[in-house]
Structure formats: structure tokens, C-alpha cells
């Protein structure tokens, strides 16, 4: 399995002073604001039909969500809008207090650095080592090299890949690649973490371990959205579910099992060290789909 990835509490990730105590701390009154807000958003590729229609969605800071729906329903398109790979054809998107539709292109990288993305196909750079892949976001952000090395090694150790830091993706197993991709997504301590079918390529045990990782990251204050088809996963982890069908959102209210942290793991066989808690984080997410 390549190492135990039960969350041991990464010193790098759990260092409160390094996280934004409020994801929108630079915006006046933003701690009370929504992290993500979609208003009547529609999206089409080129001149094709709309793949997303009338999306109204509000995500609060430090909330946890599943995004689910049948294949072709528009999950990936919605994620693309969230990680700023596409712009909407219509409607308004407000991310971190910024209007994405009118934001100039040169302003996007700053926002993208606050978003961690775990792609379904990992999208690691094959010629770089695990360490170099995970280090990319920090290097892009201009971090000092000694800090980069220190933090990346610690994070890779945290996901159980301390022995694989010099391995290149083609030599890694699916689970190891997944963890490298996750480490790369969280190395920048994102305010918003998006994962597209993160458990699609791994066995059930690894799937559960990865989910614990996401839950712990959410508890550290990261708003987390996980796109998945995995019904069993939805049963095991009680959180808000955003369902999308034929490009439209359908809300499923949070399970009664979901506790005050907005997410709860049911019947976990994974042992977790006492996760660090961050005051003010982990509020229950409010998902409003005004179109329903």
C-alpha cells in the first residue's frame, strides 16, 4: 500500500499561523461571506448546448460537500468553473469575494493559488519526481528553496510517501500517484479543495484512507468538494451532497448523521490521531439551490 496514510497531523499543515485564519481575511467582513457563490450560471463549450443551466450555489468557508450525479451530468464542468479552467457563458460567479466573470485574466493566478485540485487522472508531470511535483505550487508562488524542500518532504511523509520522494510518476502505483496529487493540491494550504473522483482509481482501503485525508483537511479549514459516483462513499461519510443531473443542481440535504463539523465518518476502520482543530472552522455547509 506504500505506507500508512492515517492522518498523523502534518506539522506543516496544522501550523495554524501558516493558514489563513479566515479564508477571506483580506476582504472586509469576509469571514461572514460566502467562499463561492454562483448565480444563474450557465455554461456551454463553444457553440454547443448548455452543459450547465441556471446553477445557483453558495458554499460557506470550511464546509464539506460531495458533488455527485450520473456521467455527463456536468460535474466536471462545474468543477472546471470552480478551479477557473473555464468561464461561464452566463450568470455570475463570485469566488473569494471576486467576480470571476469580469476579473481580468492576469488576476486569475492569484486566485488559483488558493484552490487545490486533485484531478481524476492525477495530471502529474511524469519527468519530475514526487518531490518536484508536490513542490511546484510553492515554487510557482516563489517560496524559498529550503522551505520548499522542508515542507514538501514533511507533507510527503504525512501521506506515507517518505520513501518515494525521488520516484517519478511512471514508477508509482495508482494510490501513490493519488497521494502525490493530493499532496500537490494541499501544499499551498488552499482555501478551496476540489477533487474529481479521487477514489476512482484506488482500492476500497486506499479510498477510505484518502477520504480521511480530505476530512482532516476540511477540519483544518479548507472548503472541500469531492466529485464522486461512489454511493458507498456517500453512505460512509455524511456530508452535504450536491447532486447534478442534466446540467442542473438538485439539493440533497445534509444527513442527520452529519455533526456540527459538517462531515462525519461512519464505521471507519481507519485509526486517526487526534486531528488538530481550528476554531471557527468546519461550519456546516449551506447549500442552496435556488432553482429547485
Amino acid at each position: 500500500m506504500g505506507g500508512d496514510i492515517a492522518v498523523r497531523g502534518s506539522r506543516y499543515l496544522t501550523d495554524k499561523s501558516q493558514w489563513r485564519s479566515c479564508p477571506l481575511q483580506n476582504e472586509p467582513g469576509s469571514c461572514m461571506s460566502n467562499l463561492v457563490k454562483f448565480e444563474n450560471v450557465g455554461m456551454r463549450y463553444g457553440v454547443g448546448p448548455e452543459v450547465l443551466r441556471d446553477i445557483n450555489l453558495t458554499l460557506e468557508p470550511a464546509s464539506f460537500h460531495f458533488l455527485t450525479g450520473p456521467s455527463g451530468a456536468g460535474k466536471t464542468s462545474l468543477l472546471k468553473l470552480l478551479y477557473l479552467a473555464e468561464r461561464p457563458s452566463r450568470g455570475l460567479i463570485n469566488l473569494f469575494g471576486k467576480d470571476i466573470v469580469s476579473l481580468p485574466r492576469k488576476a486569475l493566478p492569484t486566485l488559483r493559488r488558493r484552490i487545490g485540485v486533485v484531478f481524476q487522472d492525477f495530471r502529474l508531470l511524469d519527468h519530475l519526481t514526487a518531490l518536484e511535483n508536490v513542490a511546484l505550487p510553492l515554487r510557482i508562488a516563489g517560496a524559498k528553496e529550503h522551505q520548499v524542500s522542508e515542507h514538501v518532504k514533511e507533507l510527503l511523509s504525512w501521506v506515507g510517501l517518505e520513501d518515494r520522494i525521488d520516484a517519478k510518476p511512471p514508477t508509482l502505483s495508482g494510490g501513490e500517484k493519488q497521494r502525490v496529487a493530493i499532496a500537490r493540491a494541499v501544499i499551498g494550504r488552499p482555501d478551496l479543495l476540489l477533487a474529481d473522483e479521487p477514489t476512482g482509481n484506488v482500492d476500497p482501503e486506499m479510498s477510505e484512507r484518502l477520504m480521511h485525508l480530505f476530512v482532516e483537511l476540511n477540519k483544518l479549514g479548507t472548503t472541500t468538494i469531492i466529485a464522486t459516483h461512489d454511493i458507498a462513499l456517500l453512505d460512509r461519510i455524511k456530508a452535504n451532497v450536491i447532486r447534478i443531473e442534466k446540467g442542473r443542481l438538485i439539493t440533497k440535504p445534509p444527513s442527520a448523521l452529519a455533526g456540527s463539523q459538517g462531515v462525519e465518518v461512519v464505521g471507519s476502520s481507519i485509526e486517526m490521531d487526534a486531528p488538530p482543530t481550528i476554531s471557527g472552522s468546519g461550519a456546516i455547509a449551506a447549500v442552496r439551490t435556488d432553482n429547485d
Binding site: 477557473l84 488559483r112 485540485v117 510557482i140
Partner: protein
């Protein structure tokens, strides 16, 4: 220039062929650049040198079937011209005159029975305001049939030709640089297309366009330096042999190969110029291409 100051992220895979044929294409371009540069500069230096030698010189030729009579007239020319202020005149010996003919007729082909003129070499001091007419006036009484040549007509033609060659060399340099820019532009676009997925990832994790452009600029700068050095070395080897061939062909007919100090410095800067051209071209190409992405 940012590539010089920012540590590259090294996200571009280093292929086994290290840029494919691009460094070699740049090497050929820089080779042509070096030859063009040397041709222009050495020709310019040669013409200046000839001009400097001939600007203060006039030749007086006395042609006569009677060689002794010609020599006698020439001596009188030396005497009358020598009386002019700040002017020196000297009768060339037979050996010197025959040596002047050798580049055209070949060494040893100037036979004893070949009628050769008597030539007086007139040299002015710097600042002496002597013209061809002054000399003609001075010699008209002692040698009315003397041919006075201030070399200016030949020199003017030579200068025109040199300027034409210089302009041509400059045009070739310009075309070579433009071709290099075009090749690097296409190479950069091809590499961008080949690594589009990787660039998308970099964008999505927060890379600004200039970070990606820096990486490309750095990589192409390395190709530019490699190509520039190879091209320069090849050009120096060619020039070395060309110089030796020119020296053996005949020292009177061809100007002595000489490259001024400024030319040597320019030649030495060629790899740096190649690096700058490739780096800036790649950088601007990447920046302009990325503008069209989200």
C-alpha cells in the same frame, strides 16, 4: 531578461536530443552571421587602410619607348616636385615597378624585355593641401606626356563596391537574424503545443504566464548559446583557412585580411547575441500564445 534572474522551475522535460536540431540550425545561422560580419568589417577595414595609404599619394608615370629617356624625365619630375612644400618624391626602382606588376602577371612572369614605365611616387605630409592639378602643373615643363594619377577614381569605385558589399552583408545579417527568429518562433510554438497539457496544469496551480515564458526563454537561451558557440567556432576555423588561402594567392591583389578590434569583440559577442535572440523570441512567442488561453 527575467530568465537570468529567476531560477527556472525545470518543468519542461529535457529531451535526449536537447532541443533536437534547433541548436544546429542556430549554429548554421550564427556561422553565416559570423562570416557576414567578418566580410563586412574586414572589407571596411581594408578599404580604409587602402584609402589612408593612397589619400596622400600621387603616382606620376612616364611611358617612353626609350627607357633611359623615361628615367631621365622621371628624375627631373622628382626634382621639380621635391621643391614643393611638404611633398616628397621618389623614383621607384625597376625591381619595385616589376614587383607592382607581379600580382597581375604572376611571380617571375615579368620579363626583362617587357617595357615598363618609370614611376615617381609622390607623398604629401599630413595637412599638405596638394592636388593632382598642382602636380600636373609642376611636371608639365619637364615631362609633358607624364600621366598623373591620384588614385581617387579607382579608390571611389573601390569604396562604392565596399559600401555595396557592406550593405549586402548587413542585409544578410538581418535576414539571418529574422530567419533565426522565425525558426525559434516555430520551434517554441511546436514545443508549446507538445506540452499544452503540462502548461494547463501549471496555469491551474497558479503559474503566471511569465513563469512559463521564463522557462521557455531559459531553455531556448541554452540552445542559443550552444548554437552560437558551435557557429562561432566553425566560422573561426573557416576564417583561419580563408586567411591562409588569401595570403597564398597573392599579397598584392587581395587586401590583407584584417579584423579590427571592434569586429573581434562583436564576433565574441555572437553566442551572447544568439542567446538573447532565442531567449527573447521564445519568451515573446510564449507570452503572445498564452494570451489566447483562459
Amino acid at each position: 531578461m527575467i530568465a537570468f534572474f529567476r531560477r527556472p522551475l525545470n518543468f519542461l522535460p529535457e529531451t535526449r536530443d536537447s532541443g533536437g536540431i534547433l541548436p544546429w540550425v542556430i549554429a548554421v545561422m550564427m556561422y553565416l552571421c559570423a562570416l557576414g560580419l567578418v566580410a563586412a568589417l574586414s572589407l571596411n577595414a581594408g578599404v580604409k587602410s587602402w584609402g589612408a595609404n593612397l589619400d596622400r599619394r600621387i603616382s606620376v608615370q612616364i611611358v617612353d619607348v626609350d627607357r633611359d629617356l623615361a628615367i631621365e624625365k622621371a628624375k627631373q619630375v622628382v626634382a621639380v616636385v621635391g621643391q614643393l612644400q611638404r611633398v616628397r618624391a621618389r623614383l621607384l626602382s625597376d625591381v619595385e615597378v616589376r614587383a607592382l606588376l607581379e600580382p597581375w602577371l604572376g611571380v617571375g612572369n615579368v620579363s626583362e624585355d617587357l617595357p615598363i614605365p618609370a614611376i615617381v611616387d609622390v607623398i604629401f605630409d599630413p595637412g599638405a593641401e596638394i592636388t593632382r592639378d598642382d602636380i600636373e602643373l609642376a611636371v608639365i615643363n619637364v615631362a609633358p606626356d607624364a600621366r598623373v594619377d591620384d588614385h581617387q577614381q579607382w579608390l571611389a569605385q573601390l569604396r562604392d563596391f565596399a559600401h555595396l558589399i557592406e550593405a549586402l552583408a548587413t542585409l544578410i545579417l538581418f535576414l539571418v537574424v529574422m530567419t533565426t527568429v522565425a525558426i525559434v518562433t516555430f520551434g517554441t510554438r511546436a514545443r508549446l503545443a507538445a506540452h499544452q497539457a503540462m502548461i494547463d496544469i501549471l496555469h491551474l496551480i497558479g503559474a503566471e504566464d511569465h513563469i512559463i515564458a521564463d522557462e521557455f526563454g531559459y531553455r531556448f537561451m541554452v540552445y542559443g548559446v550552444r548554437g552560437g558557440v558551435i557557429g562561432l567556432v566553425a566560422a573561426l576555423v573557416t576564417l583561419f583557412f580563408l586567411g591562409r588561402i588569401a595570403a597564398s594567392v597573392g599579397s598584392g591583389l587581395l587586401p590583407e585580411f584584417q579584423l579590427p578590434l571592434a569586429g573581434m569583440i562583436l564576433l565574441g559577442l555572437l553566442p551572447i547575441a544568439a542567446a538573447l535572440i532565442t531567449m527573447l523570441t521564445a519568451r515573446f512567442t510564449v507570452l503572445s500564445q498564452l494570451k489566447t488561453t483562459i
